[in-house]
Symmetry: D2
Subunit: 344 residues, 4 copies
């Protein structure tokens, strides 16, 4: 039994990636796409300037784009993926949830709200039960679950693996791809032969979202992890794939071998978009590299390498595909978890 | 009175930059250029495939390239800049020094040797007196002084400024330009739409050279600084300019404002290649950027920005032109210091 | 005696370049800058997000930005450089001309109008006399002169040189830098690891503007040249510098040597922004290259190379700096010609 | 019945692509890989520094690399794909052919030899019969068939389609990806923020190979086509995908619509690597683009767009994946044709 799904904000970079990932999906059937009012009424192919490096799925090309509003979305659509700009999302997502829709949202609004689960299914699936608190507090028939920011999600699986040693402090430097800012987010004049050592709000997202993701949910309240996280975020001239240099300090001393074993022990889930193994580990210290390794596990795996001990702990590099594992794929995977757990 | 100088290894990327910097120099006159045996006998213009983005100086175009050996270099050349590959340098530099030449060398060999001064004139000019130990121990009439690696020299001026607060621990992530690897060091297939999270030997250089540069020389022995330095080095698709994300922990708590003041207080020297102020500080957190800021102070200044407090200390970004302040310009400036201090 | 000048549209990419070129100009003193209403009233430094890779001139940083309207521009400003978007320019340029200002405009509107001179001073200075027709027809006290499009101006000096052999047909393929589209014209996602084989309107500009520039003015009417020009325009991932592959067919057969001689024979003018020789010729068939050669002659020279005979004529490559010779510098040079010819 | 095949020069860029394309091939089983003597004896995974953006096929990782010599290649290998440097190829290919092996070679040597078929299966399959002349003249039991150069193969399918209108003259400007020069062919310092307007020997290959491919074979001799072809070749900062601007003049006037119809009429072959339709045509004048369209038809299709009439004929753009359709895939497809035609 496939679930009929929709995409809110289907014409942007993440929305297009979502369309691509849903093409041929074993559990979901894309039945509705929304965009800004200017695009409403147009066939999807005309409204979206398709820029994924694979042809537009023919089943979606002719879908009529709807306004981003609960009214025009059919009732038999049971799950909505949201990749709206956060300003728009903070206005309309509650309307959809109130109207009974379940949303798996990639938008950054409300990620830190007490009653909104922020979930990476392989890492903290139990946080999904925050939805009971959410429904209680908000009186919604629907629900909203969030996936974290692309730079956060690249690192957190490795931090979760290290938390068995008592994670205490993290320094992380990111080298982020331009697609993370959307189609027109970074101009070519800004980034050719250049690096921008600042991404507005990104450092804060990495620090706060990580602590929530690694936190403990006791059925009523979610206690954030108390590890210190300090991030420095850079935009570099790559198309896709965020690479991160991480230093981690743990309560007990660990060896590089222990770290690699801990990474390799993180299992995938039995869900269509989850890879067999969440974290792949490279021996070659020059890997992972964005262009060569971003599509590991269909873009849903995290790649790690360069693990070595330092005076204060360990350091390593990690990489994930920022618009798949870091955005559209993360939302789809959360949708798969919602379905398995009976929320839709 | 100008000093007649030569360049060992004049046809490579750093050698060419050195030629450019010596063009019109107020104290030095370029009188000899050497290269590999294959180039010896050719006019410089023919031997060097000139790739600096400014025309080749006409006074140098017709210089005949000599073999890299003391014999063919004229005796009236008093100072040699060496930008030889380290393997060649470790063989021939001692021969030149024994033959009485004073060398300002950018090559990486022997930078950590007990009797070889590793100098940034604005930071540790007193280390130059190690040359007395060197002459004693080696019996040379000449001398060899070294400048540090390009990624080290970008960061150390800022660390020296912070040492007034008691520098204890440093984490640094580098985003290094391709010119640091020489003309054919990084292939285009490796780096377009990509990042390489490893540069062989670079992390070690940053950790060990920094401690030597920040060390104390008592006239007889040089005690290295005991700060912990942990580096993670990345190659990114920029032509020139190394950008670095630094976290520093100091003995006493410091504010961002104190850090900026400390940076701005580092004065330039009264030498032709030293900028008025060594470290420029940007308010805009998105600066410095390699393409926009690498030529500050003629490529001899260090640019800093994004200074902010963290739970454990401070973080900031710094940038320098890797083939000017980080290589050829560093060697020329050391030559200027050698002259002022009477070593030539 | 310096002339007081202003810049209409001073905060954009071309406007900023214009500010840079006027810094220290021997004949012009920048006294007024205008921008969109949103910027009016702000200091220039605050209104312009300065992105030229050289510091903002201190004399301009504090200038108050004015509205782009004749009213707020002081009467003692005698010459205005316009780098407005063509839509805005077509509305306000006539107002300024009517109010008595002389405009040297880089905007694309009206370039083909019968009574508007389109001028490259070294090539067709005589066309400037069209201003008499213009004043007659329009009743203006002021005047408007235009410089051609950046891709046109790169090629036309070479075509003018070839016209001594009877220019009949041209095929030209362009590889254009992203700065030609302004700061936000080309997004990084469009151009990293990519080429865009289309620039809206560009092919037509190259074909029509070239024929006007090469045309003959008899004092009353300007007859366009009848050479066929067919262009194919591509955007490539370079920051500055348009490179063009040209094939030219001429009435009489020419040799590569004759072509090179004809190129070298085009002299610069005795004006501050005109290079000694307009066209530099390279022997190395791999030159000119954008990154290495775009700043020849301070960015005001055209570089040519790869001249060779083909069955139907000759082929060669040419290159110019698109925001200097191709835009801001072209306008400044036209201003210098206007001054020398007594129009201001 | 699968055919056992080998790859000569299996560790280079084209060799690796060939390994990838043979993984899971329905007709061929990769049984032998050769490389330089330095690599002989090593497992393939160790000898090849694998840089394709997909994991190394497990069946090949452990193959022992052999010397590039007929002796160590097993007799039961019936077809060899050669991607050797042309210098090596011109020495060893005849030895292999004499020893009875059939070679489908991508190497550039001998492409113009009278008795060596140069073949694009969808375009000139009949030229394969030149092998009879070859065996006659050379006394070989084996055979050598060549595919054309990557820039030639991108354009020739479109020229063949136009030849129904009487192809007379072609101007072509290429924007070629760096992978065409092999892993270390283009250094990053040469191409970041740059274009190189020259590729040694490339223009000549495009001119001569095109005429041979479009020529007529009467069973005894191959008459080259007499169209004039003039090429201008540029290297641009793209990883894969050669884009070309073409102008074609034909005996009779053609419309853009006729050209598009002619392109769309070129059918694929019933061979595993041949796409359903050889040439895809885009309506959007900004397509095809290398990053978005190079993998059309699994990298074996040619993409065309921007078709328009000019005073002298028509112009358009075309694009193909240079290491698939332009090299490894071309050789594999020729292997498939050799098998279907009974040569192996």
């Amino acid at each position: 039994m496939t679930v009929r799904v929709g995409i809110l904000g289907a014409t942007g970079a993440v929305g297009q990636r979502c369309v691509q990932l849903l093409d041929g999906h074993p559990e979901f059937e894309l039945a509705a796409v929304t965009a800004s009012d200017a695009s409403a009424g147009l066939p999807y192919e005309e409204a979206a300037k398709w820029r994924v490096d694979a042809p537009i799925p023919s089943s979606v090309a002719d879908l009529t784009v709807r306004e981003t509003d609960p009214e025009p979305v059919p009732d038999d659509v049971d799950l909505l993926f949201s990749s709206l700009p956060s300003g728009v999302a903070s206005e309309v997502e509650p309307d959809f949830a109130e109207a009974g829709y379940v949303l798996s949202s990639n938008s950054s609004n409300d990620r830190l709200a007490d009653d909104v689960p922020l979930v990476i299914p392989e890492i903290n699936p139990g946080h999904l039960d925050l939805l009971e608190v959410q429904r209680d507090q908000r009186g919604w028939d629907g629900a909203v679950v969030k996936n974290p920011n692309c730079s956060t999600i690249t690192m957190v699986p490795t931090l979760a693996a290290l938390d068995s040693f008592g994670l205490e402090r993290v320094h992380v430097s990111t080298l982020q791809a331009v697609s993370g800012a959307g189609y027109s987010g970074v101009s070519s004049m800004e980034i050719i032969d250049n690096v921008i050592p600042h991404i507005g709000g990104e450092e804060d997202k990495m620090e706060t979202e990580s602590r929530k993701l690694l936190g403990t949910f006791d059925g009523a309240e979610l206690a954030h992890h108390d590890a210190e996280v300090s991030a420095s975020c850079n935009r570099v001239p790559t198309i896709d794939g965020h690479l991160e240099n991480v230093w981690a300090e743990t309560a007990r001393d660990v060896t590089a071998a222990e770290v690699e074993d801990a990474f390799l022990a993180v299992e995938g889930l039995d869900l269509p978009s989850s890879p067999d193994r969440l974290i792949e580990v490279f021996d070659d210290p020059a890997r992972p590299q964005p262009r060569l390794d971003r599509t590991l596990g269909g873009g849903m795996a995290v790649a790690a390498g360069g693990v070595q001990e330092t005076p204060a702990g360990v350091q390593y590099n990690c990489l994930a595909h920022n618009t798949i594992r870091g955005a559209a794929g993360a939302a789809v995977l959360n949708g798969e978890l919602l379905r398995r757990e009976g929320w839709i």
